[in-house]
Symmetry: C2
Subunit: 328 residues, 2 copies
Amino acid sequence: MAEPKPASDLTRRVLAGDRVALARAISLIENETPQAAEVEDVCFRKSGRALRLGITGPPGAGKSTLVMRIAQEYRRRGETVAIVAVDPTSPFTGGALLGDRVRMAELAGDDGVFIRSMATRGSMGGLAVHTAQACDVLDAAGFARVVVETVGVGQSELEVAQTADSTAVVLVPESGDGVQAMKAGLMEIGDLFVINKSDRDGADRAAFSIRSALELRAPGSAWSPPVLQTVATEGRGVAEVVEAFEEHLEHMRVHGGFERRRRRRFEQRLDDLLRAHLWQEFRAQVPAAEWAAALDRLESRRATPNGTAAVLIERFGANRPGAARSSG
Amino acid sequence: MAEPKPASDLTRRVLAGDRVALARAISLIENETPQAAEVEDVCFRKSGRALRLGITGPPGAGKSTLVMRIAQEYRRRGETVAIVAVDPTSPFTGGALLGDRVRMAELAGDDGVFIRSMATRGSMGGLAVHTAQACDVLDAAGFARVVVETVGVGQSELEVAQTADSTAVVLVPESGDGVQAMKAGLMEIGDLFVINKSDRDGADRAAFSIRSALELRAPGSAWSPPVLQTVATEGRGVAEVVEAFEEHLEHMRVHGGFERRRRRRFEQRLDDLLRAHLWQEFRAQVPAAEWAAALDRLESRRATPNGTAAVLIERFGANRPGAARSSG
């Protein structure tokens, strides 16, 4: 493995917490430009101190407002915070209403806060890889907490949430009906649950439904996820959410879940990167005409997807028992 | 490419529409057992007649009830229907309330209807591949319509929805608030939009929000997605949803979008299969000890994810310019 090279100017500025450099570095990551690798690698080596918090939940649950309030609460506690919004429905990613923009502007005027949205598409292992890389950058830049906001329910969004050290699932009172059924997805990934917009009817019932659903989770874990109620627009209950995050992180530190979770995260990340590289290398070997011909055969049902995949791998993949290796 | 082999007994029974055989075949697909390939291949070659409908939307939108009602409406029209539920929050996948079970039992007693849930995990290219394979089986078995229910918002769920010829996005009146922001995701994939639970307040406003958001979609498509209102529990508006699906399918037949969409679907499917095969072959080459050592180096920050991926591909992948091929 190569020794780390001396850092570029951009990377040095990133490590110094320069905001323009941070924004630029994350754009490089997002666009998968060749220069991204250096900043990724240097930041990865310098990472590991920040605690990463995930905020996920269905659209309309008020996640972005809650994230802003959580950031404010951490600032009150004297901690620096970076926010990464990978939620296509998040105001941070463009759809902000006026009130949100005002609150975002308040946060953005504070040097201890950095806000960044991430695009939801990408070829290099996709969103989860980019998110992890952006978190490394913000971690290496010295932010004490990195909050990742994703829209939950979907598989890849759950994967993004799983890049966090601690994850809050945010719901609304009306989610109560669906909670029992929803346990298959969100119930499994929440370290804490937040019923936001709890000034609406049904908040207590929703909290009860979630607690009931949580009792069905596999026992064995010493951590019992709290179910909290907030009205994020007014800041109500937000301090308790921050407290619950910190308690969960402390609990994992004491009980050892921390390292296990981070190792699983590294494994997922390596897996994602390898899949993407293997695919890119393979796809570059297949001439456009061959690819089009393969699709023609599928359309006419002269060939099957399984058969076509096997033939293409036989011809253009060399990763088989009989193939020579380019190096040992 | 090999000629199709004579079909096994299972495959023959699948093609004859035998329900036990259908259930068994889909289980083979789900479990990625070696016998699955034969039934997949034969059914793929016999597929192409069924029209595939996607139903997606957030949890709690009442998608499953709507799907049941749509199935009943098709039965009234004399068409056979198969339902594939890949939504972890769907009653079909286990979380059914009593009323749902009663309605499902009604449907299940009808030979012209087949209902099947699919698990949400899988290594072979994941859910989208399995769903497409299951649809082939149901298509080859002679069902006129195959309805795939997924929970929308997430990336992989959107991919599943995109395996359909026509997709309905199902929302509730309360979704109105989030619709403008949500356009980044669901707005792009809907061929029709359904506000279910339209007896609740805000249905008209939600429909208006969706229509406004739809006006921002890229022009050029001759199809303008209708926004319909339903109360699926009472069957209200369901005939109109079926009519809208049929109109959209007819529109694509006339304007040629049909073949373009199916080709894109084949391409995505081949892509998914190839990625999965490449990864499996590669992963099988990496000894467990090497893999663990790589994770150790990441944990201690002695190596970076990019560097580790490059080293592993160099050592265990042979798909590089200098490598010999196992066959021409």
